[in-house]
Amino acid sequence: MSAPRIIWTIPTRGDGPRARGWAAAPALPPFIRDGRAGGPPPTPFDHLHQISRAAELGGLAGVHVPYDPFGEESLVVSASLGRDSRFLDVVAGFPAGIATPVYAAKLSATLQRAFGGRLGWRLEVELDDRVQRAQGDFVTGADRYARAAEFLTVARAVWHGRDVDFTGRFYEVVKGGFTGPLAGLPFPPVYLSGTSDEALALSAEHADVHVFDHAPDDELDRHLARLDGRVRRALQAVVHAREEEAELTAGPGLRGTYAQVADQVEAYRERGFDTFFLSADPALEEVLRIAQHLRPLLAGRA
């Protein structure tokens, strides 16, 4: 069994208690000469790159830039982080409502060119209604799954085909399709999530990987039983790993000593999970911890 793929979550709304990369860095006491004086203003992306570079140097499989209407825009962040790495898979989260499928595919084709085919799509379907309406998206309920299916169908069709005609409930395309260097690129692996019947049916048709939230074993087993066998399984969890049990604080997710968390990951591996969307705060310090303490244990067991 190969080592599990760890995808690290990029905090696009600030990292750590001081919200690095989101809130302005704290001012130094007035009697200290600020080394930043005279330089260009720092950009909020600087810290996001610190995290993704740590994930890259730390040998992790990828980063996940979540869709968050109240945070940095995920495709722009993905583009930036993808250019600044050589190995990381960059999984961009976004919902179908942000653009037509042709436009999303075209933008993604450029990203695939920009960083050599390492882009993934995490298509978010079940967003909060109010949040969605504030983004100008009024498709609700089960229609969201019907739209997502059309979105992915159209995106794949224009990505791989020429003279694509499509007429559906949500989208219409005439003579679509990419040409020249935009054609023939690898389509981004599609990550979907959700545990409703509609969600699992969508995955059966369109997902490469289905992402489950961390949940009790019996609950997860019920969901897994309904997932199409061809779809790979991923787990999403907060991770809290320390050297000794006494250092742990209580909370949900994968937690324990490094060895205990490795055991937990291993148990999921045995149940068919190959990808782990992990997050922790602060993301920079914690990704280095995972890279240097957990990853070697997992590699040793693979």
Binding site: G16, R18, R20, A25, P26, L28, P29, P30, F31, I32, R33, D34, G35, R36, A37, G38, G39, P40, P42, D46, H47, Q50, R53, A54, E56, L57, G58, G59, R86, F87, E243, P282, L284, E285, L288, R289, A291, Q292, H293, R295, P296, A299, G300
Partner: protein, 387 residues
């Protein structure tokens, strides 16, 4: 009166934490293992990254947090600081490079030209940490046979030559150690602002030379009364430069957490290493000999090396480098730094292992608690008492 805060660059790599301070798993100075990064492996193959990629992260962290820049130390077993500074130059924007070097190994005209080019590459972000003393086998490793006190005379000549060619020349010099005819930096390289000079050395010869050449007299951390005496000696012998102190910091929210980190790191210290340290002599180095004078007389546990409150003399046993550092809560470490500011320290070179994460910790935890010089505090009124 402002204070400059530098954050050291870990030229020998970094441990994952002080708990494993003996293993520099970041960089390639420790044997590669599954925990190694920069360089690391992907699917069993080298990932093509190296220590420099990690140093970029450290420098960018320090820069983003407002540190003035970083000290790039020089050791026989590590990368050359000029080369590293040149490589980091384009990766940073305001970060200043305090390049450590010994005059004996480098022609002063070449040093001037390297500095000027690096100044041009960075918009004037070069400073010097000039090392003269030391001695014993390391000095001969470099091929330097000049005796200890003569090395200070050589450093003086070195700086005379460097300054002589700096503004363009033509410059002639005929000294004990160097000879130049018609020297001078060419066109656009000439006449740039001269780098700030940080000068180290604890011997009388060093202090004498510091007075003539240094902007900052740089010392390792020592107990505060020892530093006071040292600074007084510098003030007596010379037109006093500013004072700077280089300090390892291990700070946590509570003192208990900080000492627990030391305790875990200390598990890797072998008892025979402690015994050897307690009976060590300092060789040619006045600084090392001074540090050894503060060691505990007997040993019952690692806290014996806390020779003054929060001043821990056991760092050298946990990792290569100077003996003294500060261990304690953010409050305590801030108080110790404030004491040094009161002593007249105008610049700090701080360090921590690993330099990446600890830069954030010190900047976010300790620096906001600094109160500055006593006089400034009196002027601005009472400050709320600390826990």
């Amino acid at each position: 009166m402002t204070i400059d805060l530098w954050w050291r660059i870990g030229m020998a790599g970094d441990p994952a934490s002080m708990r494993t301070a003996h293993r520099q798993s970041r960089g390639d100075w420790a044997p590669p293992g599954p925990d190694s990064i920069a360089p690391g492996t992907r699917d069993g193959e080298p990932d093509g990254y190296g220590l420099l990629d990690y140093l970029v992260q450290t420098a960018r962290a320090a820069e983003s947090l407002g540190f003035h820049g970083g000290l790039l130390p020089s050791f026989p077993g590590t990368d050359d600081p000029w080369a590293v500074a040149s490589a980091l130059a384009r990766e940073t924007k305001t970060y200043k490079f305090m390049v450590a070097f010994q005059p004996g190994f480098l022609n002063p005209v070449q040093a001037a030209r390297m500095t000027a080019s690096l100044h041009r590459a960075t918009g004037g972000r070069v400073a010097y940490n000039i090392i003269t003393g030391g001695g014993g086998p390391p000095q001969l490793w470099w091929g330097d046979k000049v005796a200890h006190d003569d090395r200070y005379a050589r450093t003086s000549e070195f700086l005379d030559v460097l300054r002589g060619v700096w503004d363009g020349g033509p410059f002639d010099f005929d000294g004990r150690f160097y000879r130049v005819e018609g020297g001078g930096l060419p066109g656009p390289l000439a006449g740039l602002p001269f780098p700030e000079v940080y000068f180290s050395g604890s011997s009388p010869a060093a202090i004498e030379a510091a007075g003539r050449h240094a902007d900052y007299y740089l010392s390792w951390l020592e107990p505060v009364e020892a530093l006071r005496a040292k600074f007084d000696a510098v003030r007596e012998r010379s037109t006093a430069p500013e004072f700077a102190v280089r300090i390892d910091v291990l700070a946590r929210e509570t003192a208990e957490e900080a000492w627990a980190e030391v305790e875990r790191g200390w598990r890797h210290v072998r008892p025979e290493a402690v015994r050897a340290q307690l009976s060590r002599d300092g060789g040619d180095s006045f600084g090392v000999r001074r540090a050894l004078a503060f060691q505990p007389g007997s040993f019952t546990g690692f806290r014996d090396f806390e020779v003054r409150p929060n001043v821990f003399a056991g760092f050298a046993l946990m990792r290569p480098g100077p003996a003294f550092g500060l261990v304690g809560s953010y409050e305590q470490v801030a108080e110790r730094l404030d004491e040094l500011i009161d002593l007249g320290v105008g610049s700090f070179i701080l360090a921590g292992g690993p330099h990446l994460e600890e830069a954030y910790r010190v900047a976010e935890g300790v620096l906001p608690l600094l109160r500055g010089r006593l006089g400034d505090r009196e002027r601005t009124g009472p400050v709320t008492a600390r826990a």
